[in-house]
Amino acid sequence: MIQRDIQLDESGRLRHFLTTEGLKRQTLLEILDHAEKFTSVADRSVKKVPLLRGVTIANLFFEPSTRTRTTFELAAKRLSADILNINISTSATTKGESLLDMLRNLEAMHCDMFVVRHSRSGAAHFIARHVAPHIRVINAGDGSHAHPTQAMLDMFTIRRHKGRFAELRVAIVGDIMHSRVARSQIHALTTLGVQEVRVIGPQTLIPRAAENLGVHVYHDLQAGLSGVDVVITLRLQRERMTGALIPSEREYFALYGITEEKLAFASPDVMVMHPGPINRGVEIGSEVADGPHSVILEQVSNGIAVRMAVMSMVMGSRFGEGQEEQ
């Protein structure tokens, strides 16, 4: 059965933001361009624009998160929206209320947008399919599937440093298999037309059909880092240690940890990124995390502008279209 992309409205504009996959390069660039305009908001004395005044946004976090939830909250507040934080692990679903019943209740409270984080792949798609038509859904991470705003803030950070995507070689290192961030980055990078995307890790952490995603697979860090312009390290979840996926943190760090020494194989002006929170001494050495190539903290601040851009786009608003600063 052929389905219309539920992310887009009839005229092809972003209606929900669920995944970077399947979107046009133009749409991704539009997000980056909007975010560019929003970066200046943080420098103002009153850090607000009135774009989403009167809009109610519910942060639905079925999984704990600090940074992502906070940056969405800040982004919403800077757009003058009202934001509701709902921590669901301690709320309704433990009382046996179904996911859909809870959504119906929030709809009845006249929410306009749901920002959703859930441990199941496809949860954001599921919610987008079942909400009332006027409600917008932004995926803040679903299982191992997608984390599109994280990917876009990474794209934003890359563009700010490198200017353009075309000649770049990008390596993503670590647990690709369980990473929603990696999947969203891969789709964004290939859509934006980088020269090459590599994934580096032991076969136990690489999805079975990774090549189908348009990447080259490396099991050797040195070979994989050779000549790359961007290194993205992924967080290694501690629970992976129990499932026979890697033998120990010590061996993982020895083979795949990003150190000054390993980084020397990359291009001299390589930038090092990490979606956070970082495990120092597991996937990245402190000297690199805090070193001159690292843009890790900058990623966090860029996250607010990118989320403002996405939120305003899905609400059909456009920054700079005759809106006055308050």
């Binding site: 859930h118 599921f126 299982g143 999805p207 079975r208």
Partner: protein, 425 residues
């Protein structure tokens, strides 16, 4: 009661009959084909209207949900759906609640089915008490209570020693086991074929070799022990290959495939269509073609519905949090008939995989129109086009991956022991 069915093309693969002839029923049994028995004067006639008259279908695996999950379906509702699908005999797996590991449960299922009177229901007895895989069930007593096969349903017997003893015990008493080949560790937590689609969607995968590893374990034991084993449903081309070799070597094994796996593949999951969340998972197009080939070459003997009706809520959840399985009784025949149109196999052979062959696997005298056998008959119009609208299914399970599909071929009459149990309005 004497009945004549005329105006149809009678297809009875067991007897090599494919002819435009009449069929005569006396009481509960088939009296004759072609020429009426001496002095036969029908009390009633059925005009097959140019359709196909064939043995009632025999389905090796269909869940009825009773006892235990009556909110999903009941013996009454699901046997009515079977009748609407032309199925007159079906086997229901033992993962009921309570588990079908005692004669009491088996008797309860059979009595309720007899009271509903829409289809013959043969319970599949549990292989191990509670399906826990620790000991073996009272298979002989269960057999006397009407259990036709013995199975651990979706829960593989992890302990190979227990599996070995189960096979030896079954072999001693001439019983048939039905085993679902799925290695439990390799499939734990998975919900989609480990491949292109699961890699893209970040869904926990079940590799194809979760099936072949288990097929190898089972075939190795069968080779040593000689027990009669039915494997099903198969989902990978490689398993069909391994299984084909075992058949060639003369092992007493048979296999089945579901109608859904003959038409759908992993791509149908995109994006997160949980009506396509099946177990075993839908695999690659190559696997689907391998299953079709296995069927066409006679390696796979039966197509089953693997009917799993669900209530609405079961699928109202994100993909991996929803419940696997599809409603399949009423689409078994039309999906199978597509294989004729698509040139996979001729109609008589296809009908054999839906009737006579599964009956032989069960060792029951069904699936044929031989005079003297029970008048279990399916009449269908092979050219009737219809659009599948889930809410119009007779089954309480409206969960189907085929919503909106244009299907060809529809049952017009189903007879059980000479009685019309379904008629298309």
């Amino acid at each position: 009661m004497k009945l004549r069915i005329h105006g149809g093309r009678v297809v009875d693969p067991a007897n090599g009959i494919d002819d435009n002839i009449d069929l005569y029923i006396e009481g509960e049994h088939i009296a004759a084909l072609g020429e009426p028995p001496a002095g036969f004067s029908p009390d009633r006639e059925i005009d097959a209207g140019g359709g196909i008259v064939c043995p009632g279908l025999v389905d090796l695996q269909a869940r009825l949900r009773e006892p235990g999950e009556e909110h999903k379906g009941t013996i009454e509702s699901e046997t009515a759906a079977a009748a609407a699908g032309g199925i007159t005999t079906l086997c229901c797996p033992p993962d009921t609640d309570p588990v079908t590991d005692s004669p009491a449960v088996a008797n309860l299922i059979r009595e309720r089915a007899a009271r509903a009177g829409k289809a013959r229901v043969l319970p599949i007895g549990a292989l191990t008490p509670g399906l826990r895989g620790e000991q073996i069930c009272e298979m002989v007593i269960l057999g006397e209570a009407g259990c036709a096969l013995f199975s651990n349903a979706d829960r593989p017997v992890v302990n190979t020693e227990v599996l070995r003893r189960a096979l030896e015990y079954a072999a001693s008493h001439d019983l048939t086991l039905l085993l679902r080949p799925q290695e439990s560790w390799l499939s734990a937590g998975g919900c989609a074929h480990e491949g292109a689609v699961s890699s893209r969607l970040g869904l926990p995968g079940i590799p194809g070799f979760a099936e072949t590893v288990e097929v190898a374990r089972i075939l190795t034991l069968v080779e040593e022990i000689g027990a009669r084993v039915h494997l099903g449903p198969l989902s990978t081309a490689r398993a069909v290959q391994m299984f084909g070799r075992a058949r060639y070597d003369g092992l007493p094994v048979s296999a089945s495939v579901t109608a859904h796996h003959l038409h759908l593949c992993e791509l149908d999951i995109s994006d997160f269509n949980n009506q396509c969340y099946l177990r075993p998972p839908l695999r690659t197009q190559r696997d689907r073609d391998g299953l079709r080939q296995g069927l066409a070459r006679g390696i796979i003997g039966a197509i089953c519905s693997d009917h799993q009706p669900h209530d609405l809520d079961a699928k109202l959840a994100p993909f991996s949090a929803s419940e696997p399985g599809a409603s399949g009784l009423e689409t078994l025949l039309p999906l199978a008939l597509r294989l004729v149109d698509e040139g996979v196999m001729p109609l008589p052979e296809l009908i054999a995989t839906l009737s006579w062959q599964p009956a032989r696997i069960l060792g029951i005298p069904a699936g044929t129109l031989t005079p003297g056998s029970s008048a279990d008959i399916c009449i269908f119009d092979p050219d009737h086009h219809w659009r599948l609208i889930p809410d119009q299914l007779v089954s309480h399970g409206h969960n189907t991956p085929l919503a909106g599909w244009e299907l060809k071929g529809r049952v017009t009459h189903t007879l059980l022991a000479g009685r019309v149990v379904y008629r298309l309005d």
